[in-house]
């Protein structure tokens, strides 16, 4: 395509790629912003887990018993066993008889519950060199070892969080690739946006709310884009960096896999960590003693800390070893200062050396995105940055429609109408779907089998309904007016936010006076307050939209009168 100037080409890229992929980016930014408090949303959604964060409990006295109760996941067994197993070598091992090979436990400074998992070996593997594990996971109350029921969906960390990087479309990981492409074109849109808006500093302070609607929307689009420009850039970039090696450009896991494997074997030999099982059964040494030794060594390095991740390899074998990683709550970079122990003798096998410069930059970028650090003010800045991204994209949609709807109304084109309906769905519809899911979570009884699946169904159904509503009400846009669905769905957001808070109160007894004053529990209070703040913002938006609607209606009436008068005069 030929452009008269680079700026014209950049403007084309910014407009059209921003529009096409903006719908995906809106989902990434909104649910990414919610993911900053995913654990807190989990507490809101699963009242049984509303207690204070706990340190990693005793492995010897509590965790070992829980690990032994974990079963291989039934769905994964059905899906992966035929692929992993070599039928000509021997019979397929029944699911509950698969031998455990690996255990892990993970917690953060925000987790009252403890996530645990096991990897089970597949006897007679088709590819003996491969990682032939069927997995099983559980979440427990670390004070008692009792499991949180599986049908309770962790809405924050298992639904909103993966939505922002995979759209929860898991067929052939298609969601990951859509988000990856959108993330790349977000970088393109940011660079082209900076290129076409040369007066960046001035735009930081420019918002002319009394000018025309189109002007105000463009000012808002520029301002929200510029204010959080470094945030938008590093989030898109670091998001791509996190997945690049696995999904987006798996050079070293496909084409260079032979070299990768050869290097890994050399590294494993240098590290002194057994790569394979010895095949000789052996009892485990005390893991609690290893944890104590790891903590002593971290303290000696002047970085005393708690255990964040613990992994046991080759369980029950003479080659068993235990890797203990430090929780990264006091730093940005995602480093675990791992210490590895012989699982049978309890001796230290190795301490991870400092990373190279390139690896350290990678650790820092990943940590910047995943924010495992304990810094509440910074976490809120992340939320604000994410929401500014949403505002930037939403005003981009609105500007696209405002700029073209008069022209499309005259030519009879449906372009603005369609774009506007999609914009309503991704801006207000998405928020409605998220709150509706939370309300469903509080209304559906805790013991209901498949509760989590029903909540997911509510989410998708409500979102689909919001699209149908936006399409149904979009005729106004074809006449160069505003789609009433914007106002109607915003009213619904204002109502649903309050309903969700009341539903939480009625179903759990945790009202705001209790969670803020009498028995403080900020995870739940924060979600309730955010819902109410959302309602308030929606209410203010409705007021503004009603005023704009009135102005439009008056203008229309006076134009009609003028037209009637002119016709009578003629």
């Amino acid at each position: 395509m030929q452009f008269n100037s680079t700026r014209q080409g950049m403007a084309w890229l910014h407009t059209w790629l921003g529009l096409i992929l903006g719908f995906v980016l809106m989902v990434c930014f909104f649910f990414g912003a919610l993911s900053v408090f995913d654990r807190e949303i989990d507490r809101w959604a699963i009242p049984e887990t509303r207690f204070d964060p706990q340190p990693m409990p005793s492995f010897d006295n509590l965790l070992m018993g829980v690990f032994e109760r974990i079963e291989p996941d039934e769905a994964e067994y059905k899906r992966m066993m035929p692929e992993y197993h070599d039928a000509s070598a021997g019979e397929m091992t029944p699911r509950l008889e698969l031998p455990a090979d690996e255990y892990w436990a993970y917690t953060t400074h925000r987790d009252p519950v403890l996530r645990m998992g096991a990897g089970f070996r597949v006897p007679f593997p088709a590819n003996p060199e491969g990682h032939n594990h069927i997995h099983g996971n559980t979440t427990i109350d670390p004070r008692t070892g009792v499991s949180v029921p599986d049908h309770h969906l962790k809405i924050g960390s298992e639904w909103f969080y993966p939505l922002h990087y995979s759209l929860n479309l898991n067929w052939n990981r298609i969601g990951f690739f859509i988000v990856g492409i959108a993330g790349f074109f977000m970088l393109v849109a940011l660079i082209s946006g900076v290129w076409i808006h040369r007066k960046i500093f001035r735009e930081l302070f420019t918002f002319r709310r009394h000018k025309s609607k189109q002007r105000s929307i463009l000012d808002m689009h520029n301002m929200t884009g510029v204010v959080a420009l470094p945030f938008h850039f590093f989030f898109a970039f670091t998001g791509l960096i996190i997945f690049v090696a696995f999904y987006y450009m798996p050079v070293t896991n496909t084409m260079l896999e032979p070299l990768h494997s050869a290097q890994q074997a050399i590294e494993a030999e240098e590290m002194g960590l057994p790569h394979e099982r010895a095949g000789i059964p052996a009892p485990m040494a005390s893991v609690d003693a290893m944890v104590a030794e790891a903590k002593r060594r971290w303290a000696a390095r002047d970085m005393a800390g708690e255990v964040g991740f613990l992994q046991m390899h080759h369980v029950g074998d003479q080659n068993a070893y235990v890797s203990i990683y430090r929780a990264g709550s006091d730093r940005v970079a995602l480093v675990g200062e791992g210490i590895h122990f012989n699982g049978v003798t309890g001796d230290v096998l190795r301490e991870d050396p400092p990373h190279s410069l390139a690896e350290s930059i990678g650790d820092f970028l990943a940590g910047l995105h995943l924010q495992h650090f304990e810094h509440w003010f910074l976490r809120w800045l992340y939320v604000i940055g994410g929401l500014l991204g949403c505002a930037c994209i939403a005003t981009g949609f609105m500007f696209f429609v405002e700029k073209r709807k008069q022209q499309h109304a005259k030519s009879g084109s449906q372009g603005s109408r369609i774009v506007d309906a999609f914009a309503v769905t991704t801006v207000t519809g998405m928020v409605i779907a998220a709150i509706a899911m939370l309300i469903a979570n509080r209304i559906i009884p805790s013991a209901t089998e498949g509760k989590g699946d029903i909540e997911k169904l509510v989410f998708w159904s409500v979102w689909a309904l919001s699209f149908l509503h936006a399409i149904w009400r979009s005729a106004a846009v074809a006449l160069a007016k505003t789609n009433p669905a914007w106002r109607e769905q915003t009213v619904l957001i204002a109502l649903l936010g309050v309903v969700a808070v009341i539903a939480n109160w009625i179903s759990t007894g945790d009202h705001l006076i209790k969670t803020i004053f009498t028995d403080p529990y900020w995870a739940v209070a924060g979600v309730d307050l955010s819902l109410l703040a959302g309602s308030l913002i929606a209410l203010l938006a409705v007021k503004k939209m009603t005023a704009t609607h009135e102005t439009e209606r008056k203008q229309e009436t006076s134009q009609k009168k003028l037209a009637t008068g002119e016709a009578a005069y003629e």
């Binding site: 395509m1 030929q2 452009f3 680079t6 080409g9 950049m10 084309w12 890229l13 059209w16 790629l17 790349f184 970088l187 393109v188 660079i191 970039f237 791509l240 960096i241 690049v244 090696a245 450009m249 050079v251 070293t252 084409m255 260079l256 032979p258 070299l259 990768h260 050869a262 290097q263 890994q264 050399i266 590294e267 190279s356 390139a358 690896e359 930059i361 990678g362 970028l365």
Partner: protein, 102 residues
């Protein structure tokens, strides 16, 4: 419908070819960076991290270059050809390294 088809062909076509050209070039760049730095004695994971940190800046540069260039045929030939050449060179370097017992 014809407007949509024409938009797709005339406008999205150049975006797609620039994206694919940029991707292929970056794939070759990453592969060659990893294998050449490992040949020079770098650790595999350091080489891998370095290559992936540079991947998206390179991808973006090539994408913009291909999309905005007036000499479309030449730039695309350089990007696609360069990607294939770098990929081939990295495969050759890998076989050399494996033969040396890397």
């Amino acid at each position: 419908m014809s407007t949509l088809l024409s938009f797709t062909r005339q406008s999205l076509g150049p975006v797609v070819t620039a994206f694919l050209g940029g991707y292929l070039f970056t794939w070759g760049f990453v592969a060659l960076t990893v294998t050449s730095t490992v040949t020079l004695g770098w650790g595999f994971h350091t080489a891998e991290h370095t290559a992936f940190l540079l991947a998206f800046p390179v991808f973006l540069l090539v994408f913009f270059w291909l999309f905005l260039s007036r000499k479309t045929l030449l730039t695309h030939a350089v990007a696609y050809g360069g990607g294939v050449l770098m990929t081939a060179a990295s495969v050759w370097l890998q076989s050399m390294l494996l033969a040396q017992g890397a």
